[in-house]
C-alpha cells in the first residue's frame, strides 16, 4: 500500500465518529422488524443515551454494533471500521456489557476476568484492581454463588478493564444499589473526560438524563428523536400525589403550564407534571396545609404518550 493512501486511511479512522450507522435494519425470521432504517451518529467523547421501552430494538442495535448479529440491510461502523467486514478491528476498541449477562458459573470472578483478558491478549492488572476496588467486586468466590448485582459488577469491570475507546453498556445499572449506580455514573463521566465514548442503553429516562449528553429515543424499531438531554428534561414527567389536610380546589393546579389533574378525591390530588414546573407546583401546594407529597418519575411509555398527545394537539 502506498504510504500516502495508508496515511489517508489512518486519518479517516482518526476522524470518523465512534458509532455511525446508515440505514441499519434488522428483520428476524423474515417477519419481525426489530430495527428499521437506523441512522445514528455518536461523536467521540460524549455519553450517548439510547432510550426506549423494552422490546423497542435497543439490544438489537447493540448486538449489531458488536457483530453478534448481521444487518438485514444498511451498515454500522465503529471508528470507521465496518462491523461486518472489519469486525475484528471494530471490536478491538470496544468494551461491552450485555443486557443479559451470562458468566462462567464455575469460575471465580478473578478466573473469569483473567480468561476474558486472555482473549484480548493482555491484562492491565492495576486498572482491573482499581475498578474492582471502586465497585467492591467479589473476586474469589465462584460466580454461581454471586448475586445478580455482584455479577453485574464483574460485567462492568470486564467492559472497562482494557481502557476501551468506546464502552457499550446495555442496561448497566440493573441490579445495582443506588450507591453503586452513582459510582457507575462517575465512571462514565470520567471515561468521556478522558476523550473516550460511552453508548448507554436504558429504558429509564431518569437513569440516562443525569449522565448522558445526548439522547436518542427508539420505539418499535424506529429512532423517534435525537436530542440534547436538557430538552428532554422538559418532557420528563412526574406523577405527583398530594394529600392535603382538607379538600382543595384543583383549579389553580390545572392552570400551571403542562400540569394535568388525573384525579381529585376528597383531600387527595393526583397530577402529572413536567419536571420543569415542579417549583411552581410546590409553591401553589404550599398555600394549603399538606399531609404528604409523593413524586414519582413517569415511565418512558407515558412520556411517549405525552409527546404524541402534544403533537396531536398542535395540529
Amino acid at each position: 500500500m502506498p504510504e500516502r493512501v495508508a496515511s489517508t486511511i489512518a486519518a479517516e479512522m482518526a476522524e470518523s465518529p465512534a458509532v455511525e450507522t446508515v440505514g441499519l435494519s434488522k428483520t428476524y425470521e423474515g417477519r419481525v422488524h426489530a430495527l428499521i432504517g437506523l441512522d445514528l451518529r455518536v461523536e467521540r467523547g460524549e455519553v450517548f443515551g439510547y432510550l426506549g421501552p423494552n422490546g423497542a430494538g435497543k439490544s438489537t442495535t447493540i448486538r449489531l454494533l458488536m457483530g453478534l448479529i448481521h444487518p438485514t440491510s444498511g451498515s454500522a461502523a465503529l471508528f470507521g471500521a465496518d462491523t461486518r467486514t472489519k469486525g475484528l478491528t471494530s471490536r478491538r476498541s470496544v468494551g461491552y456489557l450485555p443486557g443479559d449477562l451470562r458468566l462462567a458459573d464455575r469460575l471465580t470472578g478473578r478466573e473469569q476476568l483473567e480468561s476474558l483478558a486472555r482473549l484480548r491478549g493482555s491484562l492491565d492488572a492495576p486498572l482491573r484492581d482499581e475498578l474492582c476496588e471502586r465497585l467492591d467486586v467479589e473476586l474469589d468466590r465462584p460466580i454461581r454463588q454471586l448475586s445478580k448485582g455482584n455479577r453485574q459488577k464483574l460485567g462492568l469491570v470486564q467492559a472497562f478493564m482494557h481502557r476501551p475507546q468506546l464502552v457499550v453498556l446495555d442496561e448497566p445499572t440493573a441490579g445495582l444499589d443506588p450507591l453503586l449506580q452513582g459510582e457507575v455514573r462517575l465512571l462514565l463521566r470520567e471515561t468521556v473526560e478522558d476523550g473516550r465514548t460511552v453508548f448507554l442503553s436504558s429504558h429509564s429516562l431518569d437513569e440516562v438524563q443525569h449522565v448522558a449528553d445526548r439522547v436518542g429515543i427508539i420505539r418499535s424499531g424506529r429512532l423517534v428523536d435525537v436530542d440534547a438531554v436538557e430538552s428532554l428534561r422538559e418532557r420528563s414527567l412526574r406523577h405527583v400525589t398530594i394529600t392535603f389536610a382538607e379538600p382543595v380546589d384543583p383549579g389553580p393546579f390545572a392552570a400551571l403550564d403542562g400540569v394535568r389533574v388525573t384525579g381529585a378525591e376528597n383531600s387527595v390530588l393526583k397530577l402529572s407534571a413536567p419536571e420543569t414546573t415542579m417549583d411552581a407546583l410546590v409553591k401553589v401546594t404550599a398555600h394549603h396545609p399538606v399531609v404528604d407529597l409523593v413524586s414519582q418519575p413517569a415511565d418512558l411509555e407515558e412520556i411517549f404518550l405525552e409527546l404524541y398527545r402534544e403533537v396531536g394537539d398542535g395540529r
Binding site: 457483530g67 453478534l68 443479559d100 451470562r102 476474558l116
Partner: protein, 236 residues
C-alpha cells in the same frame, strides 16, 4: 477382563458363538473366523465392538455439542464473541479441545488394557492395540466435530446432539447389516465403522479407512468454522 482366563480354556465358547445367528454376529462385529478364546477376539467382543465405541461416542458428541451449542444456549457466547476473536478461530480452538479430550480418554483406555494384559494373559499385539485405540479416537473425533460443527452452523443444541447421534446409529447399522441386506451394501462406504475396519485389534489398523475418517472430520469442522461466520448469534 478378569474372567478371560476361564473363557480361554473352554473351546465351547467358540462353538456357542459360531451358533449365534448371523445377524447378531455381524451386528456385534464378530468377524468371520475370529475367536473369542484369543485375547484379541475376546476384547473385540467384550469392549471394542460395542462398549468402547458407545462410551467414546457419548463422550465425543456430548463434548462437541456442549462446547458451542451448549454455550450459546446458556448465553455465554454473547460476551466471548463480542471480544476481538474470530468466530472461526473460536470454533477451531474448541475443536482442538474436543479432540484432545477424546484422544486423552482413548489413550487412557489403551493404557489400562496394556497394563492389565500381563495380569490376565490376553497376549495382545501392542501394535494392533495402538491401531484399535487410534481407530476409536478417529470415530470419536468424527462425531465430536460433527456435533461442534452442527452447533456452529445452527443455534440448536438438539440438532448438535441429534445429527451426530443419527450418523452414529446409521453408521453402526449399515456396517452391521450390509452383508445380510444386499440393498445396504452400496452404502457401506458411508459408514465410519466400516471404514475403520471391523476389528483392528485382531487384524491391524485400516490405515486408508482411518485416514478417510480423519479427512472427513477435518472437512466437517472446516465447514462449521466457515458457516458460523454467516449466521446470527442467539440472544441469551
Amino acid at each position: 477382563m478378569a474372567i478371560f482366563p476361564s473363557i480361554e480354556s473352554s473351546p465351547e465358547f467358540d462353538k456357542l458363538i459360531e451358533n449365534y445367528p448371523d445377524v447378531l454376529k455381524s451386528l456385534f462385529g464378530i468377524a468371520e473366523g475370529s475367536s473369542i478364546t484369543s485375547g484379541a477376539g475376546y476384547l473385540d467382543v467384550e469392549l471394542f465392538s460395542l462398549m468402547l465405541p458407545l462410551l467414546v461416542l457419548v463422550l465425543a458428541i456430548g463434548s462437541g455439542a456442549r462446547t458451542f451449542a451448549g454455550e450459546e444456549d446458556a448465553g455465554r457466547l454473547e460476551l466471548v464473541l463480542s471480544y476481538p476473536v474470530r468466530r472461526r478461530d473460536a470454533v477451531l480452538a474448541k475443536g482442538a479441545a474436543v479432540a484432545a479430550e477424546i484422544v486423552l480418554v482413548c489413550a487412557a483406555a489403551g493404557l489400562a488394557i496394556a497394563l492389565l494384559d500381563p495380569l490376565v494373559g490376553l497376549d495382545l499385539s501392542f501394535g494392533h492395540l495402538g491401531g484399535a485405540i487410534l481407530s476409536l479416537a478417529a470415530l470419536g473425533v468424527l462425531h465430536g466435530w460433527t456435533a461442534l460443527a452442527v452447533g456452529a452452523t445452527a443455534p440448536s443444541r438438539a440438532l448438535a446432539i441429534g445429527v451426530p447421534a443419527s450418523v452414529a446409529v446409521a453408521g453402526y447399522l449399515v456396517n452391521g447389516l450390509h452383508e445380510l441386506a444386499g440393498w445396504l451394501d452400496p452404502f457401506r462406504f458411508l459408514s465410519p465403522f466400516w471404514l475403520l475396519g471391523s476389528s483392528p485389534l485382531q487384524g491391524g489398523i485400516d490405515a486408508w479407512g482411518t485416514f478417510v475418517v480423519f479427512a472427513v472430520s477435518i472437512a466437517v469442522l472446516a465447514a462449521g468454522s466457515l458457516l458460523v461466520e454467516r449466521r446470527d448469534l442467539e440472544a441469551p
